[in-house]
């Protein structure tokens, strides 16, 4: 029940972010995006952690 509630919160959060950019995805789209973010955000955090801080763009 709790995880279902978390999922709904996450989808609602993404829906709001999308709306602020003028985009209106449905729940199926957002669930696909959420699955992707759940993979890439930890990988991003790891890259941020190991990247030498003095590295410029």
């Amino acid at each position: 029940m709790a995880s279902e509630s978390n999922l709904q919160h996450s989808l609602e959060f993404l829906r709001e972010l999308a709306a602020r950019q003028g985009v209106a995805p449905d729940d199926a789209d957002l669930e696909a995006v959420l699955g992707f973010l759940n993979v890439i955000l930890p990988a991003l955090a790891e890259i941020e952690r190991t990247l030498p801080p003095e590295t410029p763009v």
């Binding site: 999308a18 003028g22 985009v23 789209d29 992707f36 890439i40 790891e46 763009v57």
Partner: protein
């Protein structure tokens, strides 16, 4: 016949441009109903243009381009519903250069929707079918370019490659494809995926044919003769270990051929290989979302589900992700460039598997079912992340389906990978094998 052989016959008058174009159009008419390599065919225009093409190195040669590349007066659909009626006003620079070299553009080739996927199974224009097995994908996104080249529906083609889109169909269709160094070939007049990584390049039957096309579109003068004596080959063992063992064995045999020709080979460890896919996505996804932002707002339902999900993903990454991606890319590029102090080329499987069946979303690797779209990333993203030239050449077959060997060169060493590919193809006949005609 090879593109070079055809060009020679046209130059010497054995064949006229009109005859060459008509023969290609006849073949498209006869076979493309089974392959779906073409989205549109310029039959009347091509025949008219064949009356007096410029007397350049591609005089009268029938070519075709992926349908994300503008040809004046023709539709550029990107295999999408959104651009289904989009007629290009002017030629992309690469098309103008092909024409200036004498080539005749006979049509526009099927692609994954918006060149943003590895299958070429557009829900709007239908899948391109692999000439080696019609129930299998051509790979993507330049799948029509791979299929048309393999089936002889054009003497040479252009594709585009952001994350493997030339190399994947070249590997799956048993033809030769070059992703040029980033920035070598102009991208204007091409529907973008990701400005940092997009590259237009040739798919043809051989390295020699790819060199002819590259020279036309990049204004280069490639010398493919010279062999591989003393060439230092770095073998990317980590990718061989990840691939289907049958594919890995086929690629290892290809490395042995290079050694027999005089090269030396040794293992190479590519730094940040496991991270390269993520770093690339951090840059590519926001750029793709940005390129599509207006259509995401107004035409969201008109995308296929897979492309829509990928484009939406880029909207939700934090701004810092893009910056981190660019910074990590700098570190990666510097590390990889140092490898080319020890090696002239790197060798790896172009793909970990042979072409999956149309509709299959997963492939078997290491005893596990893996999403096909994820399986391709380690084999393609590391090289395009660094903007390196990569030539995929046929090096054998597994279960009757082609296997591609990737030759990776240092930045702007496009001529080197073409030279190595040419030497390999002079010693082997994998690139001369033809699929059966579809019935």
């Amino acid at each position: 016949m090879s593109l070079r052989g055809l060009a020679e016959e046209l130059k010497t008058g054995v064949l006229s441009p009109r005859e060459a174009v008509q023969a290609t159009l006849d073949r498209i008419e006869r076979l493309d109903g089974k392959l779906n390599a073409y989205i549109s065919v310029r039959a009347e225009e091509a025949l008219a243009e064949a009356e007096s093409p410029p007397r350049g190195p591609l005089y009268g040669v029938p070519v075709a381009v992926k349908d994300v590349i503008d040809v004046a007066g023709a539709r550029t659909t990107a295999a999408s519903r959104i651009l289904a009626d989009n007629v290009a006003v002017r030629d992309a620079t690469v098309v103008a250069r092909l024409r200036a070299a004498g080539a005749i553009v006979v049509g526009k080739l099927n692609t994954h929707e918006f060149a943003f996927g590895a299958m070429t199974t557009s829900p709007h224009f239908g899948p391109a079918h692999n000439p080696w097995a019609l129930d299998r994908i051509c790979g993507g996104s330049s799948g029509g370019s791979g299929a048309a080249t393999a089936a002889g529906l054009a003497a040479g083609t252009l594709g585009t490659d952001t994350a493997g889109s030339i190399r994947i169909p070249a590997s799956f269709c048993g033809v030769t494809g070059l992703r040029p160094s980033s920035g070598l070939v102009p991208n204007d007049g091409v529907v973008p995926v990701s400005w940092t990584f997009d590259a237009v390049g040739p798919i043809a039957r051989s390295a020699e044919d790819c060199a002819l096309l590259l020279d036309a579109i990049a204004d280069t003068r490639s010398v493919v003769e010279g062999g591989v004596e003393g060439l230092r080959v770095g073998v990317v063992e980590a990718l061989l270990d990840l691939a289907d063992p049958r594919v890995a064995d086929t690629v290892r045999a290809g490395v042995s051929t290079l050694v027999e020709l005089g090269a030396t080979a040794g293992p190479v460890e590519v730094p940040l290989l496991a991270e390269a896919g993520t770093i690339k996505q951090l840059v590519m996804l926001p750029e793709a979302s940005n390129a599509h932002l207006e259509w995401l707002r107004t035409r969201l339902a008109d995308y296929g589900a897979d492309v829509r999900a990928r484009l939406l993903a880029g909207l939700f990454l934090p701004a810092t992700a893009y910056v981190t991606g660019q910074r990590a890319r700098r570190v990666y590029c510097e590390s990889v460039s140092r490898l080319f102090e020890r090696f002239d080329v790197l060798v790896a499987p172009a793909m970990p598997v042979v072409a999956p069946r149309i509709g299959e979303q997963e492939v078997e690797l290491g005893g596990e079912r893996v999403a096909f779209r994820l399986s391709v990333i380690p084999f393609n993203s590391p090289w395009s992340l660094a903007g390196l030239p990569v030539l995929s050449i046929p090096c054998g077959f597994v279960a009757g389906l082609p296997v591609g060997l990737a030759l990776v060169g240092g930045r702007h060493a496009d001529e080197t990978v073409l030279r190595v590919g040419h030497a390999f193809q002079r010693a082997t006949d994998w690139h001369d094998r033809r699929p059966p005609e579809p019935v």
